[in-house]
């Protein structure tokens, strides 16, 4: 079940990035070859962009993509590191909580006013709804990550190691090439 959700999450994120690239690319083609363009294209692209980032924040927590400074925390033993890890989760929960509230507040206001988006034929609150949704998902993922730190022996932090990941993915490819 959760595997299915993970797969869907990844497909949705990839789709958003691919779609915004292709829409922008097609605008260039349209302008030079067909001498035309769609006025709604830019608005659509920026909404895809906002959705990609705001929906993706919680995905970033799952795959440990968010980077931070761990030089100080590394000075402590595992127990101390876990304590800092939990403090960090609490800080992130505060952040997420404030923004779920702020996001909901804003979307609700726009919903009540009932205005349309500039160029696209949708009410403006629809693209903005990603604000409370994205930060809400972040809170769920943070609770999971916090539970991991408490329950799992090895996990001490939600931070990622960007360089290690870049290398891992590269080595995977290399291995496949060698096959």
């Amino acid at each position: 079940m959760s595997l299915l959700f993970h797969k869907a999450e990844e497909i949705f994120i990839s789709f958003l990035l691919a779609a915004m690239t292709l829409v922008t690319f097609s605008q260039v083609v349209a302008r030079y070859i067909f001498n035309s363009g769609a006025i709604w294209a830019l608005e659509l692209t920026t909404y895809f962009f906002a959705w990609l980032v705001l929906f993706g924040i919680s995905y970033g927590v799952r795959v440990h993509a968010h980077i931070g400074v761990d030089a100080f925390v590394k000075l402590f033993n595992r127990k101390g590191q876990k304590l800092f890890g939990i403090l960090v989760v609490l800080a992130c929960l505060t952040y997420g909580g404030l923004l779920v509230y702020g996001g909901y507040d804003y979307v609700y206001k726009i919903f009540r006013i009932g205005i349309e988006a500039e160029d696209l034929p949708v009410p403006q609150w629809v693209p903005l709804a990603i604000l409370p949704v994205g930060f809400g998902l972040l809170i769920i993922r943070l609770l999971q990550a916090g539970w991991h730190i408490i329950a799992d022996e090895k996990t001490v932090s939600i931070l990622g190691d960007e360089s290690k990941e870049a290398i891992d993915s590269f080595m995977d490819e290399k291995k496949e090439d060698e096959k």
């Binding site: 292709l22 980032v53 931070g68 800092f84 800080a91 505060t94 590269f170």
Partner: protein, 454 residues
């Protein structure tokens, strides 16, 4: 008071290991809640509006094109071309690595990506050819930083977004400094090679050089598309980035065939294009590359959005004005101001992600620079070069970690290995700081002098 709260909260959060993005965002939120009347709703909107910034829209496209270039075999061909060009000199393989980094930097916008793409191939090659591992690691770690100086550059896009300088001008401004930095590193290598008697490779024949050039031409064309397209007014930098991403996908899948459905297949006749096109969209390799690019985009833009919020708090507390007045009242000369800028950025570069530093520092430094008559483009290049150095100084030098990862050396050893070459970059920083012409000549020549300054 507000400003102390802002910075102390930020510092404490960073120290305990909070992700950089959340540290910036939460510090801003706390400050706003206690000291200002802004509503939480308007803060949420500020985060959303970051992604409506047309200039920043270029970043995901450049990340995607870098992802296709690194995995799609372009790096390998650029290395071959570089070796054929300078490999026959003393220390030639090391010099070729620098040249390969420069070429890759000219098609991709990120520094760690350059280190991984070029370093993972050439370091092993250099060790096999008789160089010490430390020498190889030091060279790659440093020349990889050219990724953000030679256009296109994600860091320059961020600077342009923060200061409303034209992205095209910034890109043009990076060309000459990038070449100078690369040549300085190569001269350093050549002198070391003479003293230490490092190996050279057999001279490539004209035919081999031609062959290497022909093989690499598809990658090199991207330089023409990006810079030519922006300069020629064919498309905006953001559109250029999207075109680059689609182009990089196209050559990886259809021309070089290093990934996707055509991998290891020869002969066009056997392939039915109608079946290949959908396959190339659902292919596992391609899906993985896009997802990887999306992950980097999310991580970076989450930091940028929160840094924008942080900068917003700084401006609403009128910090830039206060500092500008203090500096002007102190009667600081431009050259003294530039020393301060360099020291400030070098220190900050040790602890933070480059894009975040630019977004926080640019609103503070930019108005002062204007008052003192410093060209915004010149200031931008100074900031970028400082960020380069930040990438190879501990504790948060991303290039150090990446190099340690691909060589299996400890961080400390990589720091030691990078140090001699870091000195060259510091000399380069002084050159760039005090000779504005290095940065401004090309953009002024191409676009004409910046009229907004007069």
């Amino acid at each position: 008071m507000a400003i102390a709260t802002l910075f102390i909260t930020l510092f404490v959060l960073l120290l305990i290991g909070t992700p950089i993005a959340v540290s910036l965002g939460l510090a801003s939120l706390v400050t706003i809640l206690f000291f200002s009347n802004d509503s939480l709703a308007s803060i949420a909107l500020t985060l959303f509006e970051t992604m409506e910034h047309y200039t920043l829209l270029a970043i995901p496209f450049f990340i995607l094109s870098s992802a296709f270039l690194s995995t799609g075999g372009v790096a390998r061909r650029l290395i071959r071309l570089a070796i054929a060009t300078v490999g026959h000199l003393r220390g030639g393989l090391a010099m070729a690595s620098v040249l390969a980094c420069m070429l890759f930097a000219a098609v991709s916008g990120s520094s760690p990506a350059t280190v991984v793409a070029i370093g993972s191939i050439v370091i092993a090659g250099m060790v096999k050819a008789g160089y010490s591992k430390e020498f190889a690691a030091g060279v790659i770690c440093n020349s990889g930083t050219l990724g953000i100086l030679i256009p296109p550059s994600i860091v320059m896009v961020v600077y342009a977004a923060a200061t409303d300088v034209s992205v095209g001008r910034m890109f043009m401004a990076g060309v000459i400094p990038g070449i100078i930095a690369g040549v300085m590193l190569m001269i350093g290598i050549y002198i070391t090679a003479r003293i230490k008697n490092l190996p050279s490779m057999p001279r490539a024949t004209a035919a081999e050089l031609g062959e290497a050039f022909k093989d690499g031409i598809w990658g090199l064309l991207l330089i023409v598309i990006i810079l030519g397209g922006i300069y020629g007014g064919i498309f905006t930098p953001t559109e250029a980035a999207a075109v680059a991403a689609v182009y990089a996908w196209f050559i990886a899948v259809f021309v070089y065939r290093d990934m996707g459905p055509l991998k290891d297949r020869d002969g066009l006749g056997a392939v039915n294009y109608i079946t290949v096109l959908p396959q190339s969209i659902f292919d596992a390799d391609i899906h993985r590359t896009v997802l990887e690019a999306a992950k980097v985009t999310i991580m970076l833009l989450f930091i940028i959005a929160n840094a924008m919020l942080f900068a917003h708090v700084l401006t609403s507390e009128r910090i830039p004005q206060t500092i500008t007045n203090a500096i002007l009242d102190a009667g600081l000369e431009p050259w003294m101001f530039l020393i301060v800028v360099n020291i400030l950025l070098l220190v900050a570069g040790n602890f933070m992600e480059p894009s975040a530093i630019l977004l926080i520092m640019a609103p503070i430094l930019f108005p002062i620079a204007l008052e003192l008559g410093i060209d915004p483009i010149h200031l931008g290049i100074i900031m970028v070069v400082n960020m380069e150095i930040g990438l190879i100084t501990p504790p948060v030098g991303l290039n150090l970690f990446v190099t340690a990862g691909i060589t299996g050396m400890s961080i400390l050893n990589v720091v030691k290995a990078a140090l001699p070459w870091l000195m060259i970059l510091l000399v380069f920083l002084i050159l760039v700081t005090y000779i504005p012409a290095i940065s401004t000549t090309l953009p002024d020549f191409v676009y004409g002098p910046d009229l907004s300054l007069q």
